[in-house]
Symmetry: C2
Subunit: 247 residues, 2 copies
DNA sequence: TCGAATTTGTGCGTATGTATC
DNA sequence: GGATACATACGCACAAATTCG
């Protein structure tokens, strides 16, 4: 079973891009030209180029042409062991390290735990929790989305029930939990990736279907998980850097 | 500027899938049906479904229908602080933790450093290095690809010059470097994601264009970087778990 | 400044092959 | 074998953006 023609064309172009024959910024043959070279209909050439666009190798400009994408300047989002030492939130620390001012917007509400969240918090589906949505910004550009869950049986009636209000706002989960006697000992971050949903793409200002890294983060004390969050980062602009001490 | 019709249809279906209205395994309306519902040509319905297939939400079976993909059982690949304590390689430790026997194949050769590799090793492009390709297997299934670079000015003429031969084969970089007096103090892992290249898809046995997580790992001593590797993991089957001690 | 040519994005209708039921 | 459904391909049309004389 031979590969379909449009895939063969895409493969040729992709290889040329990876090998550097078509350097970043250079212009691809127009679809008319491709159709002529490969002796196919122009629709087939369209499909081939569309595939490369979807894969992120190529950027197409209406009326101008299709161009090999520049490797974006990727900012590093450091998620280090060390950044947890100084009391602030991990995001603030990472942005400070990069010399960019980090800010965020948030909104909090009560919500029952969904089944996957309950599993991560060692609770039962439907148990009451505080859910907080975050949009993290650097230079007024969206960097990261997060949806954080804290079980209410820990925080209800305490000064830290609302993560972003009161005397401990903006301190990060570790600091706030310490106030109510929960000593967080370690975090677990499960990293994966998928295409962005339409709503996420809008909030992160990336194209729909653009790739995002997802982190399922859970903070634990010796006893139990105390907070979990789903974090979403556009892979086009940021790479996630873990620093791991050895020995 | 309204979204094109095929994107609107794809968005509707995608949302239904994520929200659980269309659970894994359920059948999508046929494209004939979709075309009728949205009052468009069947070609537009084809584009919409094709988009979801490319994004990995849907699997299309010729002659049968298009189905919501099952979320595969994702194995956890733990890349923890702790796994570096016991001398073995991180991969072997992670597989042992998961109760699966980990094996690998490798081949090593001299090669001059490429510019990006040289930058990561604080060397000059073209400097001599040993390059080792790895294919990591669990239950005879490919799990992870890696391409590792070690500067020859450190290892040439020592018993550890060849990573997978001699008395220290299979000990992992940390152990081997210790033999020649290089005390590795920390690792840095930069995580990103992209579609698999055709060759990678073949070696990992995933569909072409399937997503892979990439890790650019560099081991450092107090003085200098001593090894760096490009690691590739299919995101469909594995999620990357970092355990981070806090305080 | 204007207009023609080029290029991409989207959409329609049709046709053929093949896999599944 | 027939009906259904998906995969690919052809050819055409028009809108919008861009380029350039």
């Amino acid at each position: 079973m031979p590969s379909p023609t449009y895939q063969r064309i895409a493969d040729d172009l992709r290889r040329a891009i990876v090998d550097g024959e078509l350097p970043p910024g250079s212009k691809l043959p127009s679809r008319h030209e491709l159709a002529r070279q490969y002796e196919v209909s122009d629709r087939v050439a369209v499909e081939a180029v569309r595939l490369l666009v979807a894969e992120g190798f190529v950027e197409a400009k209406s009326g101008s042409g299709s161009y090999v994408r520049h490797r974006p300047e990727m900012q590093r989002l450091t998620r280090s062991w060390y950044t947890h030492r100084n009391g602030g939130s991990p995001f603030r620390a990472a942005m400070a390290a990069a010399g960019r001012p980090g800010t965020w917007e948030s909104s909090t509400e009560r919500a029952p735990m969904t089944p996957p969240i309950a599993a991560r918090l060692a609770a039962r589906p439907g148990d009451p929790a505080m859910r907080t949505w975050y949009t993290f910004l650097a230079d007024n550009e969206p960097v990261m989305l997060s949806q954080s869950w804290e079980p209410l049986y820990l925080t209800e009636g305490t000064p830290v029930m609302l993560p972003e209000e009161g005397p401990h706002a903006g301190c990060g989960v570790v600091g706030r939990m310490a106030v109510i006697g929960q000593q967080i000992t370690h975090a677990e971050e499960a990293v994966s990736a998928r295409p962005a949903l339409a709503a996420e793409a809008g909030r992160l200002k990336i194209r729909p279907g653009g790739l995002v890294l997802t982190i399922a983060r859970t903070y634990h004390t010796d006893q139990r998980p105390v907070e979990t969050a789903d974090i979403t980062i556009p892979v086009e602009r940021y790479s996630l850097v873990y620093e791991i001490p050895v020995q």
